[in-house]
Structure formats: C-alpha cells, structure tokens
Amino acid sequence: MLTKKNRAPRLWVTLIGICGLALLIYAADTFGLMDNYIRGIFIQCCFAIIMVTSLNLVMGYLGQIALGHAGFMAVGAYTSALVTKAIGLGIKAGTIAAIPPLAQFFIGMLCGALAAALFGLIVGIPALRLRGDYLAIITLGFGEIIRVIIQNLPFAGGKGLSSGQAGQALIGIMKMNDIYVIFLVTVVCVGVMLAFVRSKFGRAIIAIREDDIASSCAGLNTTYYKVLTFTVSAFFAGIAGAIYAHRGLGTLQHTDFTFMKSTEYVIMVVLGGMGSMTGSVLTAILLSVIPEALRAFSQYRMLIYSVILVLMMIFRPIGLFGNYEFSLYQTLMKRIRKKKVQPDQTATKGDT
C-alpha cells in the first residue's frame, strides 16, 4: 500500500534503477557497441514502448479495444515534423532567434503530443459512446481517416484533397537521435503513465472496466474518465510519433501509419498482458528487437505473430504478465528479508 513511510525509499530505488540503466547504455556507447544500426533499434524500442504502454491505458486498464492508435502517432509525427521544419526555416530566414536543436525538438514534440491529444478528444467523445466490437471498428475507421487525410494534405507532402493522387513523403525533417534524450523521454512518459494509473484516475478506469453500471452508481462520471483516458493515451502516442519522425531518416510517409501498425501495437499489448505496464515495456522491446534479429524471415513476421497470439490465447489468455507489475524496490526488499534470520514483521503488502 502507498504510505508515507515507503514512498520516499521507493522513489529513490526506482531512480537508482533508472540511472543504472542509463549507465549501461553509456557503457555500451563508450565501448563502441552502439553503432548507428543499434541506435536505430534502440530508438525503435523507445517509441514502441511509449506506444504500447499508452495503448495499454485504453486496452488494459479501461478495457476498450482501440485499433487506431497509429493514427494518433501519425498526428504527432506530422505535427512535430512540420513544427520543427517551420522553426528551422524561421531560424534560417532570421525571423526566429536561433535556439538549440534540442529545444526545437521538444517544442515540436509538445506540439505533436497536444495535437494528438486534441484528435484523441475529438475521436473519443463520439466513439466512447460505443463499446466492445463497435468501438474497435470505429477507432479503426478513425485511424484510417486520419492517415488518408494526411496523405492528401499539400503541406504534408500530399497533392491536395481534390487531386485524388497519392501523396509524396514529407522530407527534410531534422534529426534528433540522441539516445540519452530519447531514453529520458521514454522513462518520463512511462513514469507519468504509471503515476496516472496509480491515482484515483487509474482506480476509476479499472472500476469502469470491471463494471460500467456499478461505477456510475458509485458516483463516477464514466464518460469523463473514458474520454480522459483516451486523450491521455493519444497524447503519448503523439510523443512516440514525434520521436519516430525525428529518428534520423528525415522523411515521413503516410504508409508508416497503416492499420497494420496499429495491429502490431495491439498484439504487443495483448502479449505483454492487458493491464501490465511491465509486460508492455518488455514485449515492446522484444517485438522490436526480434524482427531485426530475424531479418531473414521478415516476410513471415505477421504469420508468426498470429501463431504466437493463438497459442497465447489457448495457454495463457491473460498475456505474459497478466497484471503483474515489476517493482525494483519490492524485489530488493524481498531479497533483504530473506537474508535476515528473523523475518521482518513490518512487511508491506503491495499496490505494485
């Protein structure tokens, strides 16, 4: 349980754990293990983590199937790319004071996230009146609508809505592939989502998943919490999109955000366990790394995914982790307690 007593040490242990991870990355970097290829995969892992954890808010905690998450990612990616491009042009023309690339990236990212959140709100208000299969279909539809509109927008590389021709890629996007920055952004995003889940908001959305009618009879404004979760989820998809847009290739194509992309993230959520952030993070990493390692079989990827999913539904329908959450603090405490001869009486039983 969250009490004053163990709040501070828990935070410190988590921070130390994150620093440890950062040090590992630093070590890998200094020993020359991080070539451009590995960096690319690392960044891919990072935006996949943000995508999957944010989708897990809607699918795992709120319990609604959403198949259009890539659409919000696209909004974030294009908005941030256009913003950083505009800033870059402004600086070149001398109309804007020169600011460091990092600041440009963060401004772009924030704009992308806010734009995606706005779209989440616009889509969420009508869509969340529905539930189950109907919501799945409508989110799928919205995801595709967003992508098709982007494909035609003249300033996003399209030829205008009336021309009916497929658009070009958006090119000349600045590069922001500093692994430490991306790592930090990912950690903050996951941290914020965990904080969201472990507050009255998280409690409320889990209750809504458990029983919609009972929740409203316990005084919850279920529509508000549903739309809020959807918006928060879209916000983080926007951040993931911004990272994706600036990953270093300099181009964005609408075909990067098809329905297949959304499905991939849905698969990751289901595999990791709906309602487990730990599961989401680990499957996001696994399913970003494994396809790279198995490049030779890449055409069979979707086939393998579906076989894994079927097997999973038969043998472990709750996903790899169910709703288990890893907590460094508790794992350490357990170890420490085991080593003591007299077991500690002040055992904390956990919210994690």
């Binding site: 709040r7 914020v192 009255k200 009879c217 005084g219 919850l220």
Partner: protein, 254 residues
C-alpha cells in the same frame, strides 16, 4: 413532521407499448425504512432503475429533498445523494475490498491530474485521508481486516455487505437496497438485519428495500408498498399488508 427525502409523483416508464411502471407514488421521510415488495416481474427493480437514472422516466417526476431529479445522469443522482445496491451483486471483483470503497469516495476527491503525476503533498494527504475513511467505514461492517482481499474472494454474505458499504461511501441520504438477502442462509440474513439496523442508527439514512424474504421485510420495514404489473396495489403498515386480500391474491393467485 420530518422532511421528505425521496418523493415520486405519478412516476412511470413505458418501453414501447409496455407500461412497466405507472402512477408510482412514494414519499419517504428522513430516517424511514420502507419496503417495496411484489411478485417477480412486478417492476420493483425498474423503480430502482428510475430512481438511479439507469432508465429515464417517461411520465411523472421524482424529487430528492426539493430537488427535481428527472433526466439527471446516474453519477449526478449519486452526487445528489441516492445510492443503491444490485440484485445480482455488482462489485469490482478484481479490485481489493479497500479499492471498492475508495471508488465511491472518488467523486469527492479534489486533486487533479498534475498533482497525481507529480505526487504532490496534496495528493499524498488526500489518498491517506480517504484510506483512513474507508477503513473506518469497513470496520462498521467488520471487513477492515479483509481490506487487502480481492472483493471477488469474499464470502457471499460479506460481498453483500461490501456493496452496502460502497453505497454508503457515496455519503448518500437515500439508500436503495435491491434484494439484499437474496441467496442468503438464515444466519446470514440475521446478520444482514443487524447490519441494516446498525447503519440506520449510525448514518441516519433513509432506506428503500426490495425484498422477497418476508421475515426480513416484516421485521425491519416501517411501511410497505406492494406493486404488481407496475402499479401500486397496496400500502401500509406490515401487519395491514400481510392481511390485505389484494396482496395475498397477487402472491398466491386468485
């Protein structure tokens, strides 16, 4: 004359051509316990669904105190002060006993998204406070040592109690209990009776009770309303009701 808490005036609802409830009149005073009985399918639960905004009434009006409640959403009605339990228990089964009660406190919690994300002092204080409040409430029902249990793992009788606790946590003035003794054995029913008496004493709350267990109804209710085919066929004191020929006919047939 005590003030009236829940008042319905010519309340009714039709589903298409079917009038499920019509001309329903009720006036529950402060602290009163009224029973609502009737054969299966008479429309008792429909009345509850009307009072909690699950259904919207197509005719008539109902008031909480002096406030008109027609057309309000369920969570608004709960905020105004009507809480209910369900005939088939609707707990959040995979959440802990504590969390089930915390959910009902959520509407009164003030911290916002930012303080939740930054874990501010206000956040910690409020979370701590409502946990204490929830423990207090659970102790009334002797559930405090099971606060960490998953609600779905509680024995049946205690699940019923937890549902009542959750309803009370909304700080309601009017409590609607939908067949709280359904499926209970005599010991559990006796405990429930105790429990109902305790909450009346402690919370000074008005209760409207649907029940089929006549021993319970005759024991605790001050007044009884009988409905059949969506209409009130009799009302009065328990002993009057038990001798009313219309009621006997409705239950046993002509």
């Amino acid at each position: 004359m005590p003030e009236s808490i829940l008042r319905a005036n010519q309340l009714g609802i039709s589903f298409g051509g079917l009038k499920a409830v019509r001309n329903f009149e009720i006036d529950i005073k402060e602290g009163e316990l009224v029973g609502l009985i009737g054969p299966n399918g008479a429309g008792k639960t429909t009345v509850f669904n009307l009072f909690t905004g699950v259904y919207k009434p197509t005719e008539g009006k109902f008031y909480l105190g002096k406030q008109l409640m027609n057309g309000k959403k369920t969570h608004e009605i709960v905020a105004a002060g009507i809480a209910r339990t369900f005939q088939n228990i609707r707990l959040f089964k995979h959440m802990t006993v504590m969390e089930n009660v915390l959910i009902a406190f959520t509407k009164d919690m003030k911290y916002n998204l930012t303080s939740a994300v930054f874990r501010t002092a206000a956040f910690a204080r409020e979370e701590e406070e409502i946990r204490e409040k929830a423990l207090d409430l659970l102790s009334v029902f002797h559930l405090e040592d099971k606060a960490d249990w998953n609600a779905g793992n509680l024995p049946y009788g205690q699940q019923r109690k937890l549902e009542i606790a959750r309803a009370l946590a909304t700080s309601a003035k009017m409590l609607l209990l939908d067949e709280p003794a359904a499926g209970m054995n005599p010991t559990e029913t006796a405990e429930l009776l105790d429990c109902i008496n305790t909450i009346r004493r402690k919370f000074n709350i008005s209760i409207l009770l649907i029940e089929h267990d006549m021993s319970l109804v005759m024991n605790v209710c001050e007044r009884i309303i009988v409905i059949d085919y969506g209409e009130i066929i009799a009302q009065g004191l328990p002993e009057e009701i038990s001798h009313n020929p219309k009621v006997i006919a409705a239950y046993l047939g002509e």
